[in-house]
C-alpha cells in the first residue's frame, strides 16, 4: 500500500485538554502528524483542527476510526479527495545584505508575498498559499541563507455552501 498525505478536517469541542487527547492518540498508536492547525470556528464551543497525516490506506482508516472514538471529537472529514481550498502561512527570516535585497524583493513579488520586517542584514518575509507555493518560496530563499522559518501548518475549507452539506 502506498503512503500518501491526507488532510483531515476535524471538529472538536472547544475544551481544555482536547488537543492533548488528539495528539496523545497519534503518539500512542504510532501515527505521524505532518502538521496540525487548530482554532475556534464560527461556533465558540467548537474548534476545527486541520491535521495532515501521512500513511497508507490502513493507517488513515485506523486514524479516522480511533479519532471518532474520542468523546470530544464531533466530526471528521477526510477532505483530501474533495474540492477544497487550502492555505498555509510562512514567515521566513532570510539573510539580506543590501546587495541582494533587490533580487529578494523580486522573488517576493513573483510569489505575491510581503516583506514584514527589515533588519540590518535580514528581511522577514510573509507568504500564504497552498503547500506547493509555500514550499517553492522557501526553497527559492535558500540560496540567500535562511535564518529561521515558522510555518502554521495547513488550514483547509471545503468549497461550496456549508461544511458537511455535500
Amino acid at each position: 500500500m502506498k503512503n500518501n498525505k491526507h488532510t483531515l478536517s476535524v471538529l472538536v469541542e472547544n475544551r481544555p485538554g482536547v488537543l492533548t487527547r488528539v495528539a496523545g492518540l497519534f503518539a500512542r498508536r504510532g501515527y505521524n502528524i505532518d502538521s496540525l492547525a487548530v482554532g475556534r470556528t464560527e461556533d465558540p464551543a467548537v474548534s476545527r483542527m486541520t491535521i495532515v497525516v501521512e500513511g497508507d490506506d490502513y493507517v488513515i482508516e485506523q486514524v479516522t476510526k480511533q479519532l471518532n472514538k474520542l468523546v470530544e471529537v464531533i466530526d471528521i472529514s477526510n477532505i483530501t479527495q474533495k474540492e477544497h481550498v487550502e492555505r498555509e502561512l510562512i514567515l521566513i527570516k532570510v539573510k539580506a545584505e543590501p546587495s541582494v535585497r533587490g533580487e529578494i524583493m523580486q522573488i517576493v513579488d513573483i510569489f505575491r508575498a510581503r516583506v514584514v520586517d527589515i533588519g540590518k542584514d535580514t528581511l522577514i518575509i510573509e507568504a500564504t498559499g497552498d503547500i506547493g507555493k509555500i514550499n517553492a518560496i522557501e526553497s527559492s530563499m535558500k540560496p540567500f541563507g535562511i535564518i529561521e522559518v515558522v510555518r502554521t501548518g495547513k488550514v483547509a475549507m471545503l468549497r461550496g455552501p456549508k461544511y458537511g452539506s455535500e
Partner: protein
C-alpha cells in the same frame, strides 16, 4: 460571616431576592450532589478508600442510606473490585479514591478495565481548583495520567457540572463498547453548593453510538454461513457484554457450528456442550486451534483478534473467509483483513442471523472435529502427585461449572481457562488484555458483593496473590464468603515456563521458595485456611470451604515445575503448537 449569610448578602445585591433565597435553601453541597446523583443512577455500592481531598464526599456518603461503601485496603483493590462487580453483574462498578497517591493507585485497575472493556466509573479527589498546577500536596494530574487508559475522563471545575458529568460518565461507560470513565473532583467543588436537579439534560455532541450495519451486511453473512462447509464461531467478550449468549447458543445449535471462545468470551457458551471447543489461542485446545486453521468460514463475534489468539497473523485461519461482528468499528480490520464486516452488538446481529438462516447439519465437519477431540484431548501426566490441573478439574466437577471463578495471572489462570468448564454466562472473570497479577482476589470481592449468594472462587497463583493479599481484610470485614484456591508452586510459574522453554532453563528471579506461610498469613486476617498436599484431600477440602459460607483459603502445594500445554510459541503459527508430554 458564615458561608450562608455571605451568600445571602451577595444575593441581595443581585436583586431577585425571593427566588435566590429559595434556591439557597434548596442548595446542597457538591459532595451531596455526587451522592444523590449516584443514588438516582441506581448505584447501591461503591468501593473505595478515603483521604483528605475526598473528606467532604465521605461525609456525604456517611449519611447515605442507599449506598453501601466497601472499604478495600488499597485503591487498586477498589478498582478491581468495581471491575469484578461490573463484569459479573453487567452494571457499572464505582470506585473512589483520594487525590495524588490514591488516584495513582487506581491506575492499574483502570487500565485493566480499559483493556477488557469493562464499565467502571472512578471518582478521584483533587486539590482545590486554584491549587491545581502548583505541585500542591497530594496533587497528581490524574486526568492527564489516565487519558490513554480511559474511555473518557472529566475534571470538574464548577459545582453545577457535577450532576451532568456523573450522568455523562455512566452513559459513556456503559454504552457502545463499554469502558472506564474517570471523574476528577477538586475538593472545593465538593463544598460549594448548588440545587440538585435530577432531570438535568445532558448532551454529548461528539459521542454517537455505532451505527448498525443493516440488513444487507447480515444477509451476506447468512448466505456465507449457509454455503460454508467447515464453519467455526470464534466468540469473545462482546457476546457477554451484549447479553447475547442465548442467541449464540440457538444459532450454533440450529446450524451445528462449533464454538471456540477467547479468554474474555469464556462462559458465553456452555463448555459441556458437544459443540464447545473450549478456548483457542496460545494455550487453547489443540482441537480449537485445528478447527480455526482448517475452517472455511470463521464467524468472529465480539472479539479483537488479539495476538494471544492469532499467533502469526499471516497463517491465522488462512483457509477461511472471515466474518467480523463488532460494536466498535475501529476493531474491524485492525489486526486481520475481514471479508464480511458487520457493525452492531452481538445479541442483535445474532438474532437477525437466526432469522435469516436455515437448519444445517455440517455432519462431516463435526465428525472431523470429534476425531480431533479424541486424538488431542487436554491432558497431563497423572503420576499420583498433586497436580495443579487436578485441582482445577475438581473445582469444575464439584461446582458443576456453576460457580463464579476469578483468576490471577499466570499458569494457574491458563489451567483455569482450560479445565474449569463454565456452565453459566459472566462466571469467568479474568484479566485478559492487561494480564494483571493481583486482579483475582479484589475481583472476587466485587463479584461476591454483586452476587451475595453465589459461590465465588479465586483460582490464584502464589506470586499474584501476594500482590493484593491485603484484600483478605476486606473479605473478612464485609463477611464475603469468597474462596481462594491457591495453586502454590512457589514459582512465578508462567515466567519460569518461558525461561525453561526459551531461555535455556535459566530461572532468573522466578523462584519464590521464600514466600510467607499462606495458611498463617490468611489466619492472621481472620480467614480460615488449610494446606493440601495430597490428591485425595482436594475434594473434601474444597467441599468444606464452599459449605462454610465464610472466606476460606486453601493452599494447594502442587508439583512445582508443571507446564501449561498445549502452547503456541508467541508470534508462531499453530503448526508449531507444542503438545507437551514429550510429544
Amino acid at each position: 460571616m458564615s458561608a450562608k449569610s455571605e451568600r445571602v448578602s451577595e444575593v441581595m445585591q443581585l436583586g431577585s431576592i425571593k427566588e435566590k433565597i429559595q434556591e439557597s435553601r434548596n442548595a446542597v453541597s457538591g459532595a451531596e450532589l455526587v451522592v444523590r446523583a449516584l443514588e438516582d443512577l441506581g448505584v447501591d455500592v461503591v468501593f473505595g478508600f478515603p483521604g483528605g481531598a475526598v473528606l467532604p464526599l465521605y461525609d456525604a456518603l456517611y449519611h447515605s442510606r442507599k449506598i453501601k461503601h466497601i472499604l478495600t485496603r488499597h485503591e487498586q483493590g477498589a478498582a478491581h473490585a468495581a471491575d469484578g462487580y461490573a463484569r459479573s453483574s453487567g452494571k457499572v462498578g464505582v470506585c473512589i479514591a483520594t487525590s495524588g497517591p490514591g488516584a495513582t493507585n487506581l491506575v492499574t485497575g483502570i487500565a485493566n478495565a480499559y483493556m477488557d472493556s469493562v464499565p467502571i466509573v472512578a471518582i478521584t479527589g483533587q486539590v482545590a481548583v486554584n491549587a491545581i498546577g502548583r505541585d500542591s500536596f497530594q496533587e497528581a494530574d490524574i486526568t492527564g495520567i489516565t487519558m490513554p487508559i480511559t474511555k473518557h475522563n472529566f475534571l470538574i471545575k464548577d459545582v453545577k457540572e457535577i450532576v451532568p458529568t456523573l450522568k455523562k460518565a455512566f452513559y459513556i461507560a456503559s454504552t457502545g463498547r463499554p469502558g472506564p470513565v474517570l471523574i476528577d473532583l477538586p475538593k472545593d467543588i465538593t463544598v460549594k453548593e448548588a440545587v440538585y436537579d435530577p432531570q438535568v439534560e445532558v448532551d454529548i455532541p461528539g459521542y454517537r453510538l455505532p451505527v448498525f450495519s443493516g440488513n444487507g451486511a447480515i444477509s451476506r453473512v447468512a448466505e456465507a454461513v449457509m454455503q460454508a462447509e467447515r464453519p467455526v464461531i470464534y466468540a469473545g467478550g462482546g457476546v457477554l457484554t451484549s447479553g447475547g449468549e442465548r442467541e449464540l447458543l440457538a444459532f450454533a445449535e440450529k446450524l451445528n457450528i462449533p464454538v471456540t471462545t477467547t479468554l474474555m468470551g469464556k462462559s458465553c457458551f456452555p463448555e459441556n456442550h458437544p459443540l464447545s471447543l473450549g478456548m483457542l489461542g496460545m494455550h487453547g485446545t489443540m482441537y480449537a486451534n485445528y478447527a480455526v486453521s482448517q475452517c472455511d468460514l470463521l464467524i468472529s463475534i465480539g472479539v479483537r483478534f488479539a495476538d494471544r489468539v492469532t499467533g502469526d497473523v499471516s497463517t491465522f485461519a488462512e483457509k477461511a473467509r472471515i466474518v467480523h461482528i463488532d460494536i466498535d468499528p475501529a476493531e474491524i480490520g485492525k489486526n486481520v483483513a475481514v471479508d464480511f464486516p458487520v457493525i452492531g452488538d452481538a445479541k442483535t446481529v445474532l438474532a437477525h442471523l437466526l432469522e435469516l438462516t436455515q437448519e444445517k447439519r455440517n455432519a462431516q465437519w463435526l465428525k472431523t472435529i470429534e476425531e480431533w477431540k479424541t486424538q488431542y484431548p487436554l491432558e497431563y501426566e497423572d503420576n499420583g502427585k498433586l497436580k495443579p490441573q487436578y485441582v482445577v478439574e475438581q473445582i469444575s466437577e464439584l461446582t458443576g461449572g456453576r460457580a463464579f471463578v476469578t483468576t490471577e495471572v499466570g499458569q494457574h489462570q491458563m489451567w483455569a481457562a482450560q479445565l474449569y468448564k463454565t456452565a453459566l454466562p459472566r462466571t469467568f472473570i479474568s484479566s485478559g488484555g492487561l494480564g494483571t497479577m493481583g486482579f483475582g482476589l479484589p475481583a472476587a470481592i466485587g463479584v461476591q458483593v454483586a452476587n451475595p449468594d453465589a459461590v465465588v472462587i479465586d483460582i490464584a497463583g502464589d506470586g499474584s496473590l501476594l500482590m493484593n493479599i491485603q484484600e483478605l481484610a476486606t473479605a473478612v470485614q464485609f463477611e464475603l464468603p469468597i474462596n481462594i484456591a491457591l495453586i502454590n508452586n512457589r514459582y512465578l510459574g508462567m515466567v519460569r515456563q518461558w525461561q525453561e522453554i526459551f531461555h535455556g532453563g535459566r530461572y532468573s528471579q522466578t523462584d519464590l521458595s521464600c514466600q510467607p506461610d499462606f495458611v498463617k498469613l490468611a489466619e492472621s486476617f481472620g480467614v480460615e485456611a488449610l494446606r493440601v498436599e495430597r490428591k485425595e484431600e482436594v475434594r473434601p477440602a474444597l467441599k468444606k470451604a464452599i459449605e462454610s459460607k465464610k472466606p476460606v483459603l486453601i493452599d494447594f502445594w502442587v508439583e512445582r515445575e508443571e507446564n501449561v500445554f498445549p502452547m503456541v510459541p508467541p508470534g508462531g503459527s499453530i503448526k508449531k503448537m507444542l503438545r507437551g508430554l514429550g510429544r
